[in-house]
């Protein structure tokens, strides 16, 4: 390992341990690492936005390409800065209204299509037949209806409604169980990646390979 690698990777190992120290209890090392991440992230993002977005998308198009249509979104963007003034902050509503109006117009039909209609169609797409695929379709339809009944409070959950609602709880719990298992896998992955990194640093530092 070079001196640069020892120092840079050593700093990464130190900061990792600082963050892990929170598992014991809150402490100054954790606070230092937390604030360092927040500070660096803010600085990094600000400069990234300036160099990779403002310069090519706004500045170059106005100053070099002379495409003055871009003055309109630039002006709307500048209006957002009026929020810093109590007297003039109302002007920023024009920018927000413009943005929300366009977003709603584009989003609502697409979200309904992708998130509702396609999902509804998929729920009842396959016929209920006497084979594995049919059983699968049947389970999906019953599972969806049972889970919906659990959240239907306009009728008492008694008799058939009660039974279906009870089944709905099991369906929801199966979903939560799958989510929990996958979440554990994700969280362990974060820990493991850091352990592998620290192990690699120590073995490289000691020159014992592996």
């Amino acid at each position: 390992m070079t001196i640069d690698q020892i120092l840079l990777q050593g700093a990464a190992v130190f900061l990792t341990l600082c963050i892990f120290s929170f598992l014991y209890k809150d402490n100054p090392f954790y606070k230092f690492a937390e604030r360092l991440v927040a500070g660096i992230a803010t600085g990094y993002w600000t400069m990234l936005l300036f160099h990779t977005n403002f310069v090519p998308v706004v500045w170059n198009r106005l100053a070099h390409d002379h495409r003055f249509i871009y003055l309109i979104p630039t002006f709307l963007g500048l209006l957002m800065w009026t929020r810093f003034s109590k007297n003039w902050s109302w002007i920023s509503r024009y920018s927000i209204a413009f943005y929300i109006g366009i977003s709603s117009g584009i989003s609502i039909p697409l979200a309904l299509y992708a998130g509702l209609f396609r999902q509804l169609e998929a729920t009842i797409r396959f016929p209920v037949t006497l084979d594995a695929a049919g059983l699968y379709s049947f389970l999906i339809i019953v599972g969806v209806l049972a889970a919906l009944v659990y959240f239907f409070f306009s009728a008492a959950h008694k008799g058939a409604m009660g039974g279906l609602s009870r089944l709905g709880i099991y369906v929801i719990m199966i979903g939560f169980g799958a989510g929990f298992g996958l979440t554990v896998m994700g969280r362990i992955a974060l820990l493991v990646q850091r352990i592998i990194f620290i192990r690699g640093y120590i073995t490289s530092l000691l020159g014992i390979g592996g």
Binding site: P56, L110, L182, V184
Partner: protein
């Protein structure tokens, strides 16, 4: 009974310590675990494998360093697969902390597989507002990205000549740790109708399987296990396979704790009821 009662009141830090010690075991005594491949991962592999020499693959790496543990292995596996098969790849990131990380991965892998930037792959860079960027790319990649990440105009890149928008790519693979998966499904697949697959963190996986069933996505790589499966398919063991042994030990410990806590709960429940405590 006292042991079980103590288990019900155990300080959570002992559990953290137990998990930490368990995770240390494979670091000291490495071992491999068999890896079966799920159909949803195989479909993505088959898709990349089936690309022709002049076909373009679009990879969106919409994640930041906080989720690289899960998503870097799958990003590396997919890029290795595309580079090994000599396929052209257009790469973008819609995560603000992604560019530096994506640049490191693409440059390193391109070096390993002798791929040339601008000829074999292009890294477009980052733009904010994913939904808007996706829709603009559907019109023309040059609208949100007049230049690539390195400031080179897209038209001067040999690979980008004759490629305008999503109509010119065979499919999109989105690797994401956030809601950009929803945006690719809603504003990408629903609007432009291109084949879409996603690689996501374990936390998100259960919420996205319904899109697989509805046909809105053709494949899904769920967390680090999915990455390990892809590595097995391309026969290039990497971080995913490496993490599998750690996952097995850690999950075993967690399952043991779940069983113990349930046994302790049911064994002490009756006793607490008699004392007028919890049900």
């Amino acid at each position: 009974m006292k042991f079980l009662e103590k288990m019900m009141q155990i300080d959570r830090r002992w559990i953290y310590l137990a998990i930490f010690l368990a995770v240390i075991i494979p670091a000291i005594i490495p071992f491999t675990v068999p890896m079966s491949v799920s159909p949803e991962v195989k479909k993505i592999y088959d898709f990349v494998e089936g690309l022709g020499p002049n076909d373009y693959l679009f990879v969106a790496m919409d994640y930041d360093p906080s989720s690289l543990a899960e998503l870097n292995p799958m990003a590396e596996a997919i890029l290795k697969h595309a580079f090994l098969n000599d396929r052209k790849v257009v790469i973008v990131t819609l995560s603000q902390f992604g560019p530096g990380m994506v640049e490191e991965i693409t440059t390193r892998l391109a070096g390993e597989y002798n791929r040339i930037r601008g000829e074999d792959y292009v890294f477009l860079g980052y733009r904010p507002y994913p939904a808007i960027t996706i829709m603009l790319m559907g019109t023309d990649f040059r609208v949100p990205f007049p230049q690539d990440y390195y400031g080179v105009p897209l038209d001067s890149l040999p690979m980008m000549r004759g490629i305008k928008n999503f109509n010119n790519v065979k499919g999109v693979i989105d690797l994401t740790a956030g809601n950009t998966a929803d945006m690719w499904i809603t504003y990408g697949n629903a609007r432009y109708n291109f084949p879409l697959a996603i690689g996501i963190t374990g936390v998100m996986a259960a919420d996205y399987y319904q899109y697989l069933q509805s046909g809105q996505i053709f494949g899904i790589i769920p967390g680090v296990k999915g990455a390990a499966e892809y590595e097995r398919l391309i026969d290039k063991p990497g971080q995913g396979m490496q993490q599998a042994s750690y996952q097995v030990v850690a999950h075993s410990v967690i399952i043991l704790f779940i069983i113990l806590s349930n046994v302790a709960y049911f064994a002490t429940r009756g006793q607490k009821s008699k004392l007028g405590g919890a049900r």
